[in-house]
Each structure stands twice: as structure tokens, then as C-alpha cells.
């Protein structure tokens, strides 16, 4: 495949821009930088007008190329990160249910959080993990973290760091081993959950840092699920929420809420209706709703603008594609 000079230049500009943005992120060069409101509105308006123009060209018989679709999606997810436009987030009942469960817990209650995802799903699940842990800390609940996915405990450690920074807590305010603990990863999928039903210690001899289970003040009296007041599962696949419901909820009566990727969330609805899952945060929107109800705005609310913009762009291209389809006749196919 031969590349045109223009494409090479665009790729180079994007690569340099990405490296600069990454360096800027880790060095804090552009922290707090946002577009002024007039510029944000101008960008949104221009994007909208250009899509109308593409629709007109499609009606005239000139089809949109695939790389144009890619370019617009890139713009839709990147530029809104620097925009500040008003958005109203309504909290749904299934998200509020998770908050209500936390609200009902007494300070010092034990909350088990399982991080069953990896960095691939982190953009969607990490904001809700941070929001959930921040809310637990705010309510003086103690948090026991673990993972059925190998990279889960690392995501847990990152979530705690971020929640501590957001709440302004130091290591003295929330003490590791007393207020929270990271038990790490254990192989065995749903069998880990099953054995935790009789003994946590049989599955986690030490925590993530290598401290023996019996030496950790927070869990030394935690034998099994009967010592857990509430559980929250963050999952993006197998093993995940379904396995926790089938083993921990059904067999041991664990009270559980869940946070899932937007793709996985629809499969969890039957468990929400049957009250096996007490509340559900679905995708970025679920995270944003949870941040709204807790009054602790974080990344999820910030990411809703790019998501809204991207959804609008996708809808726009679906309409354009259908216009082309009906214009060319139902039997023709687009060469995108």
C-alpha cells in the first residue's frame, strides 16, 4: 500500500502531537488548559456545518471516504477534552441504588471491591473505580480490594492513589492495612470466589505487598463473605459480575453492586431486575452519574463531553450512510 505525501505528513504531525501531549501530561505543562467557551462553540458549530456539507455532497452522489470518518471520530474524542460546555447529567435509579447502599452503611463497615479488568477497559472503568473508592473513604468505610484478572490489583492501586489525591488525604489519613488493603490477584476464576465463601485466607495467604493475611489489621477477623457488608464488582468480561452473582450472591448471600463497561452492562440487567445486583454503573455514563450523585466530580463527568460529541458524529455518519444507501438504491453497496 503506497502512502501519499499528505498522509505521511498528517501521521507525523499526529505522532509528534501525541508525544508532546503525553510529555505535557506527565510534566504538567498543560494542566488546567481549556478552550475559551467561544472557541468551543465555534468548533462544535464548524463540525456540525461540515457534516451538513458532507450530507449535501452525499445527496449529490459524492461518497465520504473512510479516512474522513476516522478523522471526524478523532476530532470528536480529542478536542472536547479541552472544552467546557454545560451538560446536565440525570442520575438514573440503578446508579442511585449503589449510592443508597453506601449511604446505609455504618462508618467502619467493610466493602469488598473486585477489580476484574485490565488497562484496555480502564478508560471506562477506572473513573468509576476512583469515584467509588473516594466515596467509601468519604464515608469512613474500609475497603478490601482484590482482582480475578492479573492486572486488576495494579488498577486498584492506581484507583486508590487517585482517590486519595482527589480527597486530599495523606498516608496518615487513610492507613494501608487499616483503612484499605489490596489482596492482589488470585488465579482460578469463579473457583476463587467459591473458596472465598469458606475462607478468604485460603485464597490470599498474603496481600499484594507480601504481608501475611493474619498480620493485616483490617482483614485478620474477616473469615468469609459473612464479614463483608457490601461488595462492588468492576468488570469487563470473564470472570466478572456474572460469576460473582452466580457464586457469591446466590450461594453466600453477598450484597453486591456492579460497574461494567457499556458493552457488558446490558447483560447484567436481568440480575438488577431480580435484585441479585443491587445497583449498576454502566459505562462512562454510569460513572458520570455516580460522580454526580456523590457530589465528587471526577474524570467520568469530564469524559462525557467527548462521548456525547462522538455519539453525535456516529449518528451523523449513520444518517449520511443511509442517505447514500437510499440514493443509490437498496441493492448498491458503499465502497468506504
Amino acid at each position: 500500500m503506497k502512502m501519499k505525501r499528505g498522509e505521511v505528513i498528517v501521521l507525523l504531525v499526529l505522532a509528534v502531537g501525541s508525544v508532546l501531549a503525553y510529555l505535557g501530561k506527565i510534566n504538567g505543562w498543560h494542566s488546567g488548559f481549556m478552550f475559551p467557551k467561544w472557541l468551543s462553540i465555534t468548533i462544535v458549530s464548524l463540525t456540525f456545518l461540515s457534516m451538513v456539507w458532507m450530507l449535501v455532497r452525499t445527496i449529490q452522489g459524492k461518497l465520504v471516504e473512510r479516512r474522513i470518518v476516522f478523522l471526524y471520530v478523532g476530532i470528536a474524542v480529542a478536542l472536547p477534552l479541552l472544552m467546557e460546555l454545560p451538560q446536565k447529567i440525570i442520575v438514573s435509579d440503578i446508579v442511585r441504588a449503589v449510592y443508597t447502599e453506601l449511604e446505609a452503611l455504618q462508618p467502619g463497615s467493610k466493602v469488598l471491591v473486585s477489580f476484574d479488568y485490565d488497562p484496555a477497559s480502564a478508560p471506562e472503568l477506572q473513573p468509576m473505580a476512583e469515584a467509588f473508592i473516594a466515596e467509601c473513604f468519604e464515608r469512613d468505610l474500609t475497603v478490601i480490594m482484590m482482582g480475578l484478572w492479573p492486572q486488576g490489583p495494579q488498577q486498584a492501586a492506581m484507583a486508590v492513589d487517585s482517590a486519595m489525591k482527589r480527597m486530599g488525604y495523606t498516608d496518615q489519613d487513610k492507613v494501608y492495612g487499616v483503612d484499605y488493603v489490596n489482596l492482589g490477584y488470585q488465579a482460578g476464576n469463579e473457583f476463587v470466589i467459591q473458596r472465598m465463601g469458606s475462607s478468604f485466607q485460603s485464597m490470599f495467604k498474603t496481600d499484594f505487598l507480601g504481608t501475611p493475611y493474619e498480620d493485616i489489621p483490617l482483614v485478620k477477623n474477616v473469615k468469609n463473605f459473612s464479614n463483608i457488608n457490601f461488595s462492588f464488582n468492576l468488570s469487563s468480561g470473564f470472570p466478572g459480575t456474572v460469576e460473582w452473582v452466580q457464586v457469591a450472591v446466590d450461594r453466600y448471600g453477598l450484597r453486591m453492586g456492579a460497574g461494567n463497561t457499556a458493552v457488558q452492562a446490558p447483560t447484567i440487567y436481568p440480575y438488577v431486575r431480580s435484585k441479585q445486583v443491587l445497583g449498576l454503573l454502566g459505562g462512562m455514563n454510569g460513572g458520570a452519574e455516580f460522580e454526580t450523585v456523590t457530589g465528587l466530580p471526577g474524570k467520568a463527568i469530564g469524559f462525557m463531553l467527548p462521548q456525547s460529541f462522538a455519539h453525535l458524529i456516529v449518528i451523523g455518519f449513520i444518517i449520511i450512510g443511509n442517505v447514500a444507501f437510499f440514493r443509490e438504491g437498496r441493492k448498491s453497496r458503499l465502497k468506504g
Binding site: 447529567i89 438514573s92 436481568p270 456516529v314
Partner: protein, 225 residues
């Protein structure tokens, strides 16, 4: 004998574990068998790692097409394995956690694995948009219904839905896009998901019975005789 012994083991273990669910004194058996599973699962790690090395080293040795990618895979695998096992760069040495602050493992995880995996997943957005543009067509009544449901969910799962239909009065709130999205998820989606779940469960029961009774023998390898 080569086939009959595994079939007997499957029948015995399968039947015993089903009985143990209904007979409380046998409940401990289930716990013991899950421990066996854990032990076997550990060997799968060695098998997986060994297999990965074997395939890619053979590709490298024979200089087969795209052998460069295999070189990257093998070196990445061995490098992460080494820094994880020997805890290279850990301030507290071998006794401290594998991802302690300053360890090479943590540096690699935070700056290579994390952004790379997130990038791979994020690329989906581009392909979903492109595929929707090219293939999401109102070809017939069913496809049109799917298209309308997709629009409602896409708008209803963002603040856009509120912005577009928030003006609709309370007595007509059912027509607001976020409420329509909730209805789609709570009713048609729920019904479909339940149907799929029940179907899968019945399939699992049937397959399990076939395995226990020795009707299904493909797991033994070779022909099923």
C-alpha cells in the same frame, strides 16, 4: 482402557459433584475439587508461556514471514518475566511487592502496558464509527427498528439526550430520550438477555450430561469411538 478410564473418572467426578450440592455432608468435597482445579490451572500458566516461546522461537529460527514481530514478542515476554521474577529496581529488593514504587515492573506497567492496551481498545471507536457508516442500513423493518433503538441509546446514554428532549413536559416524560433509553434497556433488552441466558443454561446442562454420561467424547481427542 485408554478411553474407558477417563470416561469413568468424568462420570464419577461429575456425579459426585452434582450429589454434593444436594447432600450437605458432602459439601466439603466441592471445596477440595476446586483446590485441584487451582493446582491444574497453575500448570496452564507454564504451558501457555512455554507454547508461546516455542511457536515464536521456531518462527525466528526459520526466518518465517513477519519474524520481526516474533522477536519483539519473545524479548518483551522474557524482559517482563525477568523484571517481575527478580524484582529488578525494587527499592526494597526481592522481599518487596513486584510493583513497588520505582521498580522496573511498575515503570513498564504504567508507561508501556497501560497506554498500549488502552490505545488498542480505543481504536475500536474508529472501527465502530466506520462500520456503522458503511453497514448500519434501514434495509427492512427489523433493521429500521434496530437503527431507531441505536439512536435512542446513543443519545440517551449521554447528556445530549437531556439537552434535546429535556423541554418535554413532565406528564409526557416517557417521550424524553433518556427515559426511552431506560425503557429499552429494562424491557426489550432484558427480555432478550433472559432468553439468551436461559438458552445458554439449558445448553450447559445438556452438554454436561452428555459429558458425564460419556455421549460427548471429543474432549478425549482423536475420533470419538
Amino acid at each position: 482402557m485408554k478411553r474407558q478410564i477417563p470416561l469413568l473418572i468424568t462420570f464419577f467426578v461429575g456425579t459426585l459433584l452434582i450429589i454434593s450440592v444436594f447432600v450437605p455432608p458432602l459439601g466439603d468435597l466441592e471445596r477440595d475439587f476446586t483446590l485441584f482445579f487451582d493446582i491444574i490451572a497453575v500448570f496452564a500458566f507454564f504451558l501457555g508461556g512455554g507454547n508461546l516461546l516455542r511457536i515464536h522461537l521456531m518462527k525466528l529460527a526459520n526466518r518465517r514471514k513477519d519474524w520481526g514481530f516474533s522477536a519483539v514478542t519473545v524479548s518483551g515476554f522474557l524482559f517482563m518475566l525477568a523484571i517481575g521474577l527478580f524484582k529488578v529496581g525494587n527499592p526494597g529488593g526481592i522481599a518487596e511487592a513486584v510493583d513497588a514504587e520505582g521498580s522496573w515492573f511498575k515503570v513498564m506497567f504504567d508507561n508501556v502496558i497501560n497506554p498500549l492496551q488502552s490505545t488498542m481498545y480505543s481504536l475500536l471507536a474508529f472501527f465502530v464509527a466506520s462500520a456503522s457508516y458503511r453497514a448500519f442500513r434501514a434495509k427492512n423493518r427489523e433493521a429500521t427498528m434496530l437503527l431507531i433503538a441505536a439512536f435512542i441509546i446513543l443519545l440517551g446514554r449521554t447528556p445530549l439526550g437531556v439537552m434535546l428532549t429535556g423541554w418535554i413536559p413532565e406528564w409526557m416524560s416517557v417521550a424524553q430520550i433518556p427515559n426511552l433509553a431506560v425503557w429499552i434497556m429494562n424491557s426489550p433488552n432484558l427480555a432478550g438477555q433472559r432468553a439468551i441466558m436461559i438458552g445458554i443454561s439449558l445448553g450447559v446442562i445438556a452438554t454436561s450430561l452428555r459429558l458425564i454420561l460419556g455421549v460427548e467424547r471429543s474432549y478425549l481427542g482423536g475420533d470419538s469411538d
